[in-house]
Symmetry: C2
Subunit: 415 residues, 2 copies
């Protein structure tokens, strides 16, 4: 399968881009497109599409279900009771809505953690996206529950190979306060034996840190290093409440950190110490978290929030400039997942978007990256391609009406 | 002229909305629409449109021209040199682009301050919006300049009556560090004599406060009260660096305060003390500021940023809930400008928008206000009506292509 994008703008130059199978085969003027589906790139720019590095995709079903609440009330009275009522079919519909929303806002890959693995995997397969999926692992220090979760993990790892290789498998120990030390060690071993990433919430709240100090006399990152859990395959979300020493531990172990500015602000979790993290060399990417704490999956909003928050908390208008935000939202995430995408270069996986340069949010058009970070919204995105396949064209995703119709039924069910 | 919106959702109820001339004439099921232009409201909800309470609209021409810079470098090397090259015709084109962007994101009214009054007024008149326009008044303590600015103000006040009554006239003394004490007093008198609002930047940066303390031994708000400047006609933008006593002064004088979260964060101006302001009863609304410090004019982004910033800085996830943000972005702004709009009620000015409830960002749809504040973007807005006239339908604004084409020429001119 071939796609030829004719006369598209890349880095201020008009060029052609040829995609063969799932990779960029050639970039240059006047390419031969025989046998290719030709896309008219005139008036559009090609950019790498976004990699959303921390999601609970199916929580789209909880969008605006419970906002502006104290964390405990939010979880115990709203989120957990609703989650208890959702089965694999619900999760599938929620994930379809999430995929639709991500595609519409230029995201082609996400790093997810949620229940009902197959519900999500099926949605990702059908929607044509790329994803790293992990099943949430929670045992609440109960050995029976731990065994059950281990068996489920082994079973899912066997089964996930039925999906296309756009879908990767990761381990998803929820957090240090919901998973026992023994299970964390088991997860670490299983990941090492099978060369898998680990996706975990880490140092998200002050309570998590205080409880860890009380229990082990160590802060979360110190403790995880001590038990041998940390390594370059660990993707840690949030990671707000960290000392300089802990940042050093993250760097030493090659841990990948995902910044979630909207969620951290909405839940009042705390301020992410971006400048410290960056200056010490932590590998940083961006994620939206789930729709119950955001309430959308827009990486454009997330880039802007990351940059504005860094400027505010560091009292420095030069902190986290647009280019850095754009890299965090694209190539940094791809690298953290070990994926050969996130840049428009010959040989790379063909994940990209075409933005409409005549959209009013992108004019006059002095700096496209700045416009994408500080001004754009989903209306600027015309075409989205993932793994060499067109997922959206002219702002339209095939089958979108049915996805929305199904998702709207949850209003009646839960209101 | 009559418009009948049939079977539209308002507060979860399906109803008809009849607009006669420029006001909502009737709201209820089964209204008679004889002689009216009929809009199909099915699958849509009617909401008040946004009032953007602090803009420099024509700075759309500087969108993404200079980002991530130190304030001094930003102003002296980029913003001021470009401003010096812009004439009334340029300002007209910039304001047209701003109006287009505001209409597309559901805003029908804005409170502006910029050079070349007629360039902006002409754009607003043509685009059908409502606006309160002020010409920037700056004298840098130069008496000759002061006289010139006073004469210009008097001249513009005479001339502005040529525009439709959607356009109001305000005085725009830039700030206490750019306008002399004598001129501020003159502005105050002129406003009182002619019953006009005053639009001013106030306590935006720490430097402004420090300089005022050095010069007068008083903080800006203390000093403005002392010289008799403050009153219920004063609309103060930013107003970040304030003490409890100063908040008391604002309340006592009925000063209207405009929160500009994106700009305050992007320029690292500081954190707006929302909870203190609110608990003491300051009248609060929202504004985007200009596109050089935002970089867009989206009141949806501004609502989300205001809420998230308040939650973060007050360490409280219940701070600035969605309903409050929505009121700040609509009716509060209308009230501050003395306008009878901002609510969908019989007798009110017919300024409103229809949002598409089948947009993926608004599903499942548990709480529309929460969705508008935390999830929506411009793609959710289908129709915009201002002063009883349809400005956008099906997401399309008449003549939008020409506005964009003209604005794109500035890229070549300034890059």
């Amino acid at each position: 399968m071939k796609i030829l994008i004719k006369e598209v703008q890349q880095n201020e130059v008009i060029t052609d881009v040829l995609i063969k199978d799932n990779r960029f085969a050639a970039i240059g003027a006047g390419l031969d497109g025989s046998g290719a589906e030709v896309l008219d790139g005139r008036g559009k720019a090609i950019l790498p599409s976004f990699v959303n590095m921390h999601t609970h995709a199916s929580m789209t079903l909880m969008r605006s279900y419970a906002d502006d609440l104290d964390l405990h009330e939010w979880l115990t009275n709203y989120i957990w009771p609703m989650e208890a009522q959702l089965d694999e079919e619900d999760i599938y519909h929620g994930a379809r809505l999430a995929c639709l929303e991500m595609i519409k806002s230029g995201t082609t890959c996400f790093n997810d953690m949620y229940w009902h693995f197959h519900g999500i995997a099926r949605a990702v397969e059908e929607m044509g996206m790329r994803a790293m999926l992990s099943s949430v692992f929670i045992d609440f220090n109960d050995p029976a529950k731990a065994r059950e979760q281990q068996e489920l993990t082994e079973k899912l790892f066997d089964e996930f190979r039925q999906y296309p290789d756009r879908i990767g498998f990761a381990l998803g120990p929820h957090a240090i306060y919901t998973v026992s030390k023994e299970s964390l060690k088991w997860v670490g071993r299983f990941a090492e034996e099978n060369d898998l990433p680990i996706h975990i919430h880490l140092s998200e709240t002050r309570k998590e840190v205080d409880d860890c100090l009380t229990r082990y006399g160590l802060r979360p990152i110190q403790w995880l290093e001590k038990i041998g859990f940390l390594g370059p395959n660990v993707i840690a979300a949030h990671t707000i409440h960290v000392t300089d020493e802990e940042i050093g531990i993250l760097v030493r172990n090659g841990v990948k950190v995902v910044h979630n500015p909207a969620s951290n602000m909405k839940l009042a979790s705390g301020s992410f110490p971006f400048c410290k993290m960056q200056s010490k060399g932590v590998e940083l990417s961006l994620g939206t978290d789930g729709c119950s704490s955001n309430n959308n999956l827009s990486m454009m909003e997330e880039m802007k929030l990351a940059s504005l928050q860094a400027k505010l908390i560091h009292n420095d208008p030069t902190a986290l400039p647009a280019h850095t935000a754009f890299e965090m939202a694209t190539v940094n995430g791809a690298q953290a997942l070990g994926l050969d995408c996130g840049k428009i270069e010959e040989g790379k996986l063909a994940d990209c978007m075409l933005v409409d340069l005549s959209n009013h949010r992108l004019v006059p058009g002095y700096r496209l990256e700045d416009d994408m970070v500080y001004s754009a919204d989903s209306s600027c995105i015309d075409t989205v391609i993932c793994d060499g396949r067109i997922l959206m064209q002219g702002g339209y995703v095939e089958g979108e009406e049915a996805i929305v119709t199904e998702a709207r039924t949850y209003k009646k069910r839960f209101q």
